[in-house]
Each structure stands twice: as structure tokens, then as C-alpha cells.
């Protein structure tokens, strides 16, 4: 056995360890990465569909499944059925129909848009459910610990929220992490994002004395106790990200 106390041994050991661990992890990542990317794409499709109200129940017909997303194995098929080619990239008031909209990384776009010379590309997905359109807008913001994101689906009037989906990277379990729970996202359904003709977004508000969310025109939903900063993150994300689509929505309405 070599003398494990010698400096030369220590250095050789460290180099060997780093090479082995690096090779193992890199090899594993390389072989699994395509599978992981595929899973993430399916998840994105599930989430977009979920926001516009296409759930597992829509496919199975079983009302108990209404809070579950479409099965991952069926995500591709259902997505092409309800959204398909109806994907757009919005630049200002101009919309381009392209399937590249799905590939847009909202986080990266947000960083690129910090430069004044860059016109932000905004993805928009238009679902078609029994002849009725629903406009799904992706959102991206920050919560207490890390990123939060979501999808908001608007009705044909481009004013009323049809459904919403939120998710997070590392919010506190039991508190901020509850933004992905039913009792939170359900409250968004039917809320208006306008007050009269002024864009207001939706505020996650504390103490608005409306825990069952009966008032749909106050631009407010009930907050989660103990999750103030995550809730504020949701408010901010809706205000800034959804607002960018307003010029385009107005041209749609005008036509």
C-alpha cells in the first residue's frame, strides 16, 4: 500500500478522483441528456394544455382526473390536436406564425431584451377548443429562492383569464411551493386582467377579504399565508410579461 500521507500521493489521488468522477458524470449526462430534453418538452406541452383547460379528464372523460395534466405519453398527440401549428412569435404588434415559438426560451429572451437594440420575441400559443380560441402566454419571474414560471390562458375576449398554471424551481414546500396547487391557480379562472380599459394584471393580494374569490373584477386573488414574496413574484410576473402582449392583443381586438 502506498504511503497515503505523502503530498505526491495526495495530488495524484485528487487528480485521479476528479478525472474519474468527471468522466462518469459527463458520460452519464451525455447519454441521458436527449431523454431529459424530451421529458422537458413534454412537460411544457402538458403545462400549456393544462393552462387552457385541457386536462387528463378531457382525454379520459373521468372527472376525477380534472386536476391532472394530460399523460406525458399522450402530450405530443394532444398538443398537436389542440394547438398544432397555431404558434406565433410576437414582435411589437406583428405576429409571425412559426413552430419555432415552442422552442423559445423565455428566460433567455428576457436577458437578451435588456439590450435596447433587441426586439424581444414573445411566444404565443393559440389553442382551439371546440371552435373557441384561447391565448396562452408564458410567464417567467422570480420567487423567494429561485425562478418561478407559468402559463396564463386568456379567453377569446383577451380580457378574462381562462386558466393558469404555475410552477417553481425551489420555493419552500408547504408555503411558496403551493403556487402550483389547485386552490391557488383555480382562483385565477374568470379574473379580468383589465380594469375598465386599463391593463391591471392580477395582484396576489393579502387581506382582500375574498378568500373564496367571488369578486372576479377586482384584479385580485387571495394570497397564500407565509408566502408573501412568492406571491409578489407571481404578481410581478403577470404584470410585466403579460403587459408585453397588450399592444398585439389590442390590434387583434381592433380587427
Amino acid at each position: 500500500m502506498a504511503n497515503t500521507e505523502k503530498n505526491s500521493y495526495t495530488i495524484l489521488f485528487s487528480i485521479g478522483m476528479v478525472v474519474i468522477v468527471g468522466a462518469v458524470l459527463a458520460g452519464l449526462f451525455g447519454s441521458l441528456n436527449s431523454q431529459i430534453k424530451e421529458n422537458q418538452k413534454k412537460e411544457k406541452k402538458q403545462n400549456i394544455l393544462f393552462a387552457m383547460g385541457i386536462t387528463k379528464a378531457t382525454i379520459s372523460g373521468n372527472q376525477e382526473d380534472v386536476n391532472l395534466p394530460v399523460d406525458a405519453t399522450e402530450a405530443d398527440k394532444v398538443f398537436s390536436e389542440y394547438v398544432g401549428e397555431n404558434q406565433f412569435i410576437i414582435e411589437g404588434t406583428k405576429a409571425t406564425k412559426t413552430s419555432k415559438a415552442f422552442e423559445i426560451d423565455v428566460k433567455k429572451e428576457g436577458q437578451l431584451a435588456k439590450k435596447d437594440s433587441y426586439t424581444r420575441k414573445l411566444p404565443l400559443f393559440i389553442g382551439n377548443i371546440k371552435g373557441k380560441k384561447s391565448y396562452v402566454v408564458p410567464l417567467y419571474g422570480k420567487g423567494l429562492w429561485d425562478a418561478i414560471w407559468g402559463y396564463v390562458a386568456l379567453d377569446e375576449d383577451l380580457k378574462t383569464v381562462k386558466g393558469a398554471f404555475f410552477d417553481h424551481k425551489g420555493e419552500t414546500p408547504g408555503l411558496g411551493a403551493n403556487i402550483k396547487e389547485k386552490f391557488f391557480y383555480e382562483d385565477f379562472k374568470g379574473e379580468s386582467i383589465y380594469n375598465g380599459s386599463e391593463f391591471k394584471g392580477i395582484t396576489v393580494a393579502k387581506g382582500n377579504n375574498d378568500p373564496t374569490n367571488k369578486r372576479k373584477n377586482d384584479n385580485k386573488v387571495d394570497a397564500i399565508a407565509g408566502a408573501t414574496i412568492t406571491g409578489d413574484g407571481v404578481t410581478a410576473m403577470i404584470k410585466t410579461d403579460l403587459k408585453m402582449y397588450v399592444p398585439y392583443f389590442q390590434t387583434v381586438k381592433a380587427n
Binding site: 502506498a2 468522477v21 441521458l32 408555503l175
Partner: protein, 225 residues
């Protein structure tokens, strides 16, 4: 001499009394949380829900048992000067492997685990067991020690998670067991309210404190002089 000792060890049955002790001691009288006061950080952070507690307990058990075996197998070749770094590398590697495999083959589960993966690496119980046990014992014993300590940790997590979720949200594993707080059914019809304070980290500390109190009043030998 070493050879003789080796032979004696081999004769020992797999689940000898001593080996069983490795698994059961950490559950009660040598519990990593209540006696050694390790792993408190994650015990405070994730016990607001029972489900999260259970998931974390299972995840730590896997990493601790596997890590203990790996460190134990490497114990004669690890230079003592950099042993802490080696331990960290082993934990981090195991956690990343688990994370990648879950993301590729059990994506739903990996989404639920997302928050905990990082917390496993920082769990002081893991480093503590590597340092105190695996570096000086064989792989089988280290494996049992890992299972035992993770179970002791998990037990406290589940107890704390049970009370925090029940009293804080009125639910267990997400099911409303005390009635509906908004529709005012069940206990809520009698004027009962959820204690939102239970969901915050300080109450986890107090709950752990109560467990320590009960444990030491039942077994006075645990009280430090």
C-alpha cells in the same frame, strides 16, 4: 494480526446483535437529530408537509447508505489530509447521478424531489457518518449504519411533518382530515382554526425541542450533566 482480525470478522453473521444495533441505536438513544443534533437545517426547512418529509427521508437513506459503502471501500486509499473533500465529492456525485437518472426515467418524481436534491448534499448527518463511521469500518457495517442513521433522521422528520401539517394546514398527505376550512365543515364548524405559525420554521425547532424533552424525560441517562 490483520489477517486474524479479518477472519474473525468474516465469521460474524450478517445480522449479529452488534450489527442490528448499528441499525436500531440511531432510531432512539443515538438519534442523529435529537441526540447528536445533526441535520437540523433540513429538518426545519422541509417538514411543513408530511409528504415532503417522507420523500426527503427516503432520498437521504439512499444517499447515506450508498455513500457509506463507497467511502468504506475507499477508506484505506483516501489521503487523510483531503478526506473531507473526498467525502463531499462522493456525496455530490451520488446526488447528481440520482438526479440525472430520475430526470431521464422518472420525470414526475424528479420534479417533486427538485428542492430536496440540493438539501441532501448539505445534510450534516451524511458527512458526519462518513467521518465517524465509514472511514473506520467495513462496507456491510457501514451500509447498516447508513440505513440506521437515515431511518433515525427520517423518523423525526416524519413525526415533525405529521404535527406541522396536521396543525398548520389541517391536512395529512394533502387530504383534509379535519374538515374544510373555507366551507367550515368538520372541526372548523366548531370554531377551530389552523395555526399558520406551525408552517413556519421556528415551530419546527420547537417541535423538535418537544421531542427531545419527551425522549430525555423517558430516558434520564441521555441527559448531559
Amino acid at each position: 494480526m490483520a489477517e486474524v482480525a479479518e477472519k474473525v470478522k468474516q465469521k460474524e453473521p450478517l445480522f449479529s446483535k452488534k450489527n442490528k444495533g448499528l441499525m436500531t441505536d440511531p432510531l432512539f438513544d443515538n438519534n442523529p437529530i435529537t441526540i447528536q443534533v445533526l441535520g437540523i437545517c433540513s429538518a426545519l426547512a422541509i417538514t411543513a408537509q408530511l409528504k415532503a418529509s417522507i420523500v426527503m427521508a427516503v432520498a437521504v437513506m439512499f444517499v447515506l447508505a450508498m455513500g457509506n459503502v463507497v467511502i468504506s471501500l475507499m477508506r484505506t486509499i483516501i489521503p487523510s489530509k483531503i478526506r473531507i473533500i473526498v467525502q463531499l465529492v462522493v456525496v455530490a456525485t451520488l446526488v447528481i447521478i440520482v438526479d440525472l437518472v430520475l430526470k431521464a426515467f422518472a420525470y414526475e418524481l424528479s420534479k417533486q424531489l427538485s428542492v430536496f436534491v440540493g438539501l441532501i448534499i448539505t445534510n450534516c448527518i451524511i458527512m458526519g457518518r462518513f467521518e465517524a463511521f465509514a472511514l473506520g469500518n467495513g462496507p456491510w457495517k457501514s451500509f447498516l449504519d447508513g440505513i440506521g442513521n437515515a431511518a433515525g433522521y427520517g423518523l423525526i422528520l416524519i413525526i415533525v411533518g405529521f404535527f406541522r401539517e396536521l396543525l398548520g394546514s389541517g391536512t395529512l398527505l394533502g387530504f383534509q382530515v379535519l374538515g374544510d376550512p373555507i366551507e367550515k365543515t368538520g372541526l372548523y364548524a366548531l370554531g377551530y382554526e389552523n395555526n399558520g405559525f406551525m408552517l413556519l420554521a421556528p415551530m419546527a425547532l420547537i417541535t423538535v425541542g418537544v421531542i427531545i424533552w419527551i425522549q430525555r424525560s423517558r430516558n434520564q441517562s441521555l441527559i448531559e450533566s
